[in-house]
């Protein structure tokens, strides 16, 4: 036998680990992105408005999931994903979808995370959220309704 049995097993295991690692990484990234989130029709509108916004090049979860550590991101993302799947399949989708308080907190942290240099010497206690003043940022809500929502979605 040309190969040592032990080395054969190790290289197989290594290959599997690489595939798993790459697959998990790919999945992690893909499920952060607008095309994935928008593949549920109830999310069409938010993706549509995000794609026209100043943050069009960012993924959904660059704002909508914690960026401080992989662990907190995983926990938050898993919980949000599970809830969305449940509501979309078994629950009742609200007529107008709004961010939950936990999401609003996370999004706000991410504003400050990226715009750190801007907020460094600003008193951030004046308003609860950045978007209280920067109202054009969240999903272009000021776009005429007929350009962002239609029946049957």
């Amino acid at each position: 036998m040309p190969f040592n049995n032990k080395w054969f097993l190790v290289s197989i295991a290594l290959a599997l680990l690489i595939i798993t690692y790459a697959g998990a990484g790919f999945s992690m990234r893909a499920t952060d992105k607008p095309p994935f989130c928008g593949s549920c029709h109830v999310m069409n509108e938010v993706v549509r408005t995000q794609q026209r916004s100043i943050h069009a090049k960012l993924t959904c979860n660059e704002c909508h999931a914690p960026q401080d550590s992989l662990v907190s991101k995983m926990i938050f993302k898993t919980r949000a994903g599970m809830r969305d799947i449940y509501v979309n399949t078994l629950g009742t989708v609200p007529d107008v979808i709004q961010a939950e308080p936990a999401t609003k907190e996370v999004v706000n942290q991410n504003c400050k995370h990226c715009h750190l240099m801007t907020v460094l010497n600003i008193d951030m206690e004046s308003k609860a959220y950045c978007t209280d003043c920067h109202r054009q940022v969240p999903h272009f809500k000021k776009l005429p309704i007929d350009q962002r929502r239609v029946a049957n979605e």
Partner: protein
Amino acid sequence: MSSIRRLFSAVPAMPAAAVFLVVSLVFSGCTQIPEPQTPSYETKLEVTETGNKAFSEDFPLHYQSYLNNKDDTRMTEYAGSVPHDKHDGINPLPKGYKHAQPYLKNLWMGYPFSYEYKRARGHVYAIYDILHIDRINNYSEQAGLPATCWNCKTNKLPQWHETYGDDLWAMEFHEFRTQVDIDDNTIGCNLCHDPRNMELRITSAPFNEAMLRRGIDWKQASRNEMRAYVCGQCHVEYYFQDKAHGPAAKVTFPWDNGFTPEDMYEYYKDKGSTATPGFEGNFVDWTHAVSKTPMLKAQHPEFETWIDGPHGAAGVTCADCHMPYIRVDGKKKISSHHWTSPLKTIEQSCLQCHADKQPEYLKERVLFTQKRTWEQLLIAQENSVRAHEAVRLASEYEGERHPDYESLMIRARELTRKGQWFWDIVSAENSVGFHNPVKVMETLARSQQYSAEAVRLAVQAANYAIGPELEGDIKDIVPPIMEHSRKLQQSQAHLDSHKWLQYLPLLPPAEPVWDGQEKLR
């Protein structure tokens, strides 16, 4: 050692799961987010279809939503859908309501509006309610009002207009009573939708013509604009055209100069054929029985009020708030066809754009505007009553008059007419100021100023001798007329019960000819 082996045995499952995930992601991840495309339909209906029920088979969800207009039980703070006498602030619902304008019958004295004026219910009651309202003369073979009144009541109107042309308008109202089905022909689908494909369309000739005169062709309009235009077919100020200016009694919108009360007031100055000195050529809806003032009556100018308000100017349309998207039948998203106050659907209507606000906060903001509008509306209403009373007293004053008496009285009557027009524009409008807070407040301020100036001129015309009679609380000078109807006007005792009612002619005794669609005699 055994634990390591167990770990290894799980290894083949991991790539399998990863591959599955990747494959499913590739498939779902390829989904492109479609541009918002209004669903297109192809029905088997004819373009001439009028019946509402005919649409229910293809559009059961929309039809069900439309039937929700039958709800006539829910009020908001200042308005709502429960029909009641709008001048009655004494009795509780359903007879009256806490927010009422007690002088409506006084201000419309001599005009059918003084017989009965109720809060409107939903579109599905349009035919039933017009067949039972006392404004139409049901005691006679002649309704006293033309077929024009069917406009915006029935989905058969476009068909009738096609059949009779502009002769339709001046035809006898009663002639059409039995030509409609109360439910199937009330305001409905075909008036806003092309039955073949459900595209939005305009079926109102008056709207089409008024917009063309403004240089706007609805056929070129964007979908966003159409979401307001379809409502603007009816929720507008209009008048019955004077026969000296075109087809008699034709519904016409006074928009040639613009959409402000002032623009429309100017428009009416040469659209009539009255010979009343000082008002020659003015359009006149009726002459006030007490002050003999040539009057204008305003009709629900929602479109004109909204169009340059905060929402209208920003391109937010009627349907955006009054027809919010709702999920029905599980998940399907449709536009609500239950037309009512968005105060009943704040989450769907307002939070669609005002996502950063709480429903309770938004409701308070609306009430902030409405409370202040309502207070000033009541003052404008009382000022108008005082103006009529001042003109009445001055016209009957027999002492020495001012040397310029005639011209002072013409000006006093003109400002009485104008003051009431500006009050009525707000009074008849459905939003109690919300559609355009600043314009509405300006309109009421002007109304109060015009009416106060009318009083001053009348007092001057009578050499200030009538001044003392106009001092004090208006409710003591001219009490509100709480009861008045066509039936009551057949009674001399009723006409003797209020000093203003004495100016009305006694009607000959008569029993009703019509009860709804039933001919009684």
